[in-house]
């Protein structure tokens, strides 16, 4: 039995410790907002926060998440940065198919927490691990900057 804290809520899971956090969230706990894209930390669709750091849940075993705070897209809205990003995503009309966007927002939230006023280059660097096949990159940049401005982090 492994004890996880997900979006502020304690959960016990009875799975082998090497089970990736991604599949534990999706298949066992029903938190399907975190997406599967590649299984090798190549696309960022599965990004969650582990003690505030953006990690790829597809290669994070639950044994490594035990006793740490996991935040997923479902829990991000309780945080001011997360909320501002979600609002900007809607306002800018970022999503096309939308499948990658949870991971994009999680990466953007981690960026804005450590860099409240990111430059284009910093956005590109922080978001380079998140693939969007629909090609929403220019709108993602716009939305990240809009959320940053709303948070008082205007360039």
């Amino acid at each position: 039995m492994i004890r996880l804290e997900i979006n502020g809520k304690g959960q016990n899971v009875d799975l082998p410790g090497e089970t990736p956090l991604l599949w534990t969230l999706r298949d066992e706990l029903g938190l399907t907002g975190t997406k599967f894209g590649c299984g090798m930390a190549l696309c960022g669709a599965c990004t969650v926060h582990l003690d505030g750091q953006a990690v790829r849940s597809c290669i994070t075993p639950i044994s490594a998440a035990a006793n740490k705070k996991v935040v997923t897209i479902e829990g991000l809205g309780t945080d001011a940065v997360g909320k501002a990003l979600q609002a900007a995503w809607v306002d800018v009309g970022v999503p096309q198919c939308g499948y990658c966007q949870a991971g994009q927002i999680m990466s953007a939230a981690a960026l804005l927490r450590r860099t409240p006023k990111p430059t284009d280059a910093q956005i590109d660097e922080a978001m380079g691990g998140n693939i969007c096949r629909c090609g929403t990159y220019t709108r993602i940049r716009t939305a990240v900057k809009q959320a940053a401005a709303k948070q008082g982090g205007t360039q």
Binding site: W23, G37, C38, I73, G93, G98, Y99, Q101
Partner: protein, 763 residues
């Protein structure tokens, strides 16, 4: 068993809808009279299976609280159709968008009309039926109010979710009128009063947010892969590594020892041609996806690779080149190319190569199926819900009436989800476990190894030019395995719908034109990929014209306009194009004025002709496809190490009148990124019949650092809604690669003829 209550995209299955009537008094949806059916005609939506339906009883229901529910029968894959299509209905019926809910239709074309969400045709085929649907609903509400007040219907008017009695100022809300409106007869089509487009509140405005935007941003949106049931088994499948191969033998023992694995089941291979059938293999069913993946690793399988075991992309490229250098089937012939080229002042030729591509939708293929009392239900992201239904029925040997296909959001489509092989896998596996719910999830490796690939092609072009460098003779040989091979293993020539994608239907002012199509055999599954054959054709044609311009020492934009010639309307039939994207040749001629228009527009907007520093350049291309006209101007910088950056792209689009201009923009932005991806990075190649790329480390796609800082989309204003609409989802892709390569030539003098560019510019 838990109902899929967490599937937000609840579907209006007939059963559920009727429940809705009895429980909540959803009233407009009370029956399914056979009125509203289209007659069989040849073009547009009329030419599609099951045509169109404009019956408000199928699409609109109103609850007593006034909530208007509008059904979207086309699949949402990022084009914004769940916003765009209901917006048309809501505008015409004077519904207040804030009180509109959207429901996704299940696969049921008899009820909703054609649902094949492909070919960039949702809006152009359904704008008019959806307008009529909304207008009919509005008139039924007006008639109900007039009855209630016992006044002539001419004295009432529906406005913003209520009906007003103009002389007295009395008002009744849509909710209060719903019951009575439902019992009104549906007005005959020729009595419908459509709104004056000047009165549109939503159509053409681009003000409405995406209906799914908030759910997507908060992680609530449900895709096929998110389907869950209590007691569901999670499956992954080991498929033959070579297309056409099969299982020779397998040992499930080790797989069954993996904790969480419950069953190992063989899926029978299907004989050629591929159709939409599963390729067969061995499935591992487990408690969760990870256990299934681990179980698959532990399987011991011996494969019989079958007839495609020697498919090798390097040698295949050589064979395509050999075919392209010899005469092939003549598919268009005007004037006398041979005589004209013999007399020409100069002769030029070039060959262009575009490899196989995989769609690589961010959501890998996934489908869930269960069977209860002989009734089959399937959930997933499908571009062809009715086709999925029919194919599942055929696979399981049941009637399509016993199959319900629930359409979730699609995590990207790009043509891949028009092929429901993954749904058939889920259905077969559910049947094998007595109808238990089974979700099949493809890993990224499965996705890249088992796609229906974009074709691979060599385009061979020759031109004779006069003393001024102007082309007088044009030969284009296009060689590529055809999508038809997926349905007929013997097919080796491009079909009319492939030739009509920018190889024969070039409306050029060149007197001697010959287009040939030598044969090419397919050795894997070939399928539609966003914009399809327009990709290689557009790349070759627009690159070659720029090469001719350079040889003539001319400005590429001016030269391109000269090759297109003066503004005129050209019959597609004159160009040998019997297909014309399925549209009427009279209503949709090839309009060189519009093609010129977007090229001139994008030239102005991009600052064509401006002086750029060394190592920078602008390139231009224009392409007509999906009955829309798109031009792109790409700006590049190439440093002394050969590193390419694309700071800015301008695109001009003439797709006729628009419903949701913001989504036209977003589709162009996305097409630009996809075009840059395939031009710079992406390639699927085969060796010993096996795909060499396993994941995004080898099958690279564009990432944010390589995305242009600026993509500017210029929509040619189209406010006349009587004019024909064009496609939007696909036609933005084809001009990107040639515009990029033309820009690279302008910056460096290096001409790219083989995609992807990858390290070809490296010093």
């Amino acid at each position: 068993m838990k109902a899929p209550g967490d599937l937000i995209l609840t579907n209006v299955s007939r059963r559920r809808f009727l429940q809705g009537v009895s429980l909540t008094g959803l009233v407009l949806a009370v029956g399914y009279p056979s009125l509203g059916r289209a007659e069989d005609k040849k073009y547009g939506a009329d030419g599609m299976p099951n045509g169109w339906v404009d019956n408000p009883l199928a699409f609109v229901s109103i609850a007593p609280d006034g909530t208007v529910t509008i059904v979207c029968h086309r699949s949402e894959m990022g084009q914004g159709i769940r916003t765009g299509m209901p917006m048309i209905v809501a505008d015409e019926m004077e519904a207040d968008w804030k009180r509109v809910k959207i429901e996704q239709a299940p696969g049921d074309e008899k009820k909703f009309g054609n649902q094949d969400t492909d070919g960039s045709r949702s809006t152009r085929h359904f704008f008019e039926p959806m307008r009529r649907c909304g207008a009919a609903a509005r008139m039924m509400l007006e008639a109900a109010a007039a009855d209630r007040w016992k006044v002539p219907v001419s004295e009432v008017e529906a406005k913003n979710h209520e009906v007003i009695h103009k002389p007295s100022g009395r008002k009744l809300g849509y909710g209060a009128l719903a019951q009575a409106a439902a019992s009104q007869p549906v007005p005959a089509r020729d009595t419908l009063r459509l709104k004056d487009p000047k009165q549109f509140r939503y159509i053409g405005k681009g003000q409405l947010k995406l209906v799914d935007g908030r759910d997507i941003a908060t992680g609530k949106a449900k895709y096929g892969i998110d389907t869950r049931f209590d007691g569901m088994l999670y499956a992954v499948v080991a498929r033959p590594p070579v297309y056409g191969g099969k299982v020779a033998s397998f040992d499930p023992a080790e797989a069954l020892k993996v904790p969480g694995v419950e069953r190992v089941i063989q899926i029978e291979a299907s004989p050629a041609p591929p159709m939409f059938n599963p390729v067969g293999g061995v499935a591992v069913l487990a408690r969760n996806t990870y256990a299934a993946i681990q179980g698959r690793r532990a399987l011991k399988i011996t494969w019989d690779d079958g007839p495609n075991a020697s498919y090798d992309s390097k040698t295949y490229k050589t064979s395509l080149e050999e075919s392209a250098r010899k005469p092939g089937k003549v598919v268009r012939n005007e004037g006398d190319f041979d005589a004209a080229v013999a007399k020409a002042a100069k002769r030029h030729q070039a060959e262009y190569y575009v490899p196989h591509l995989a769609h690589a939708t961010m959501e890998p293929m996934s489908a869930t199926a269960r069977i209860v009392n002989g009734k089959v239900e399937v959930w997933g992201g499908f571009q062809s819900p009715q086709g999925t239904r029919d194919n599942v029925a055929k696979r399981l040997g049941v009637s399509p009436d016993d199959v319900t296909v629930h359409v979730t959001l699609l995590g990207g489509g790009f043509g891949r989800r028009s092929k429901p092989d993954f749904a058939l896998e889920a259905a077969s596996l559910s049947k094998a476990v007595d109808g238990k719910p089974v979700k099949v999830t493809w890993t990224r490796e499965d996705d890249l190894h088992n796609s229906y690939y974009h074709t691979v092609s060599v385009e061979h072009l020759e031109a004779g030019v006069d003393a001024q460098g102007k082309p007088v003779a044009w030969l284009h040989r296009s060689v590529a395995p055809t999508i038809i091979s997926t349905f007929n293993a013997e097919a080796k020539n491009e079909a009319p719908f492939e030739l009509g994608m920018g190889v024969i239907n070039v409306p050029f002012a060149i007197p001697n034109i010959r287009i040939e199509n030598p044969e090419a055999a397919a050795h894997t599954r070939i399928g539609w990929f966003r914009s399809v054959s327009n990709i290689p054709h557009g790349f070759a044609v627009q690159s070659f014209i720029a090469e001719l311009a350079a040889a003539a020492g001319r400005d590429p934009k001016d030269y391109l306009l000269e090759v297109i010639g003066p503004p005129r309307q050209v019959s597609p039939e004159m160009l040998g194009d019997t297909w014309n994207h399925g549209e009427s040749p009279e209503r949709y001629p090839v309009d060189t004025g519009r093609l010129r228009g977007v090229i001139e527009k994008v030239a102005r907007e991009s600052g064509w002709g401006r002086k750029l520093p060394k190592g920078q350049g602008l390139g231009i291309a224009g392409h007509y496809s999906f009955v829309s006209y798109i031009a792109a101007a790409v700006e590049v910088a190439v440093d002394d190490k050969g590193t390419l950056t694309v700071p800015r792209v301008d695109m001009a689009v003439d797709c006729g009148p628009t419903v949701n201009p913001d989504r036209v923009r977003s589709q162009m932005e996305g097409a630009c990124i996809m075009g840059l991806s395939l031009a710079t990075l992406s390639e699927i190649s085969f060796k010993s019949g096996r795909v060499e790329q396993d994941n995004f480390n080898a099958y690279e796609v564009l990432r944010m650092p390589a995305a242009p800082r600026l993509i500017r989309v210029h929509i040619i204003p189209g406010n006349d809604y009587s004019k024909p609409m064009g496609g939007v989802g696909e036609p933005g892709v084809p001009p990107i690669a040639p515009a990029l390569c033309n820009a690279i030539f302008a910056a460096t003098g290096k001409r790219i003829r083989t995609l992807p560019i990858r390290d070809q510019l490296k010093a």
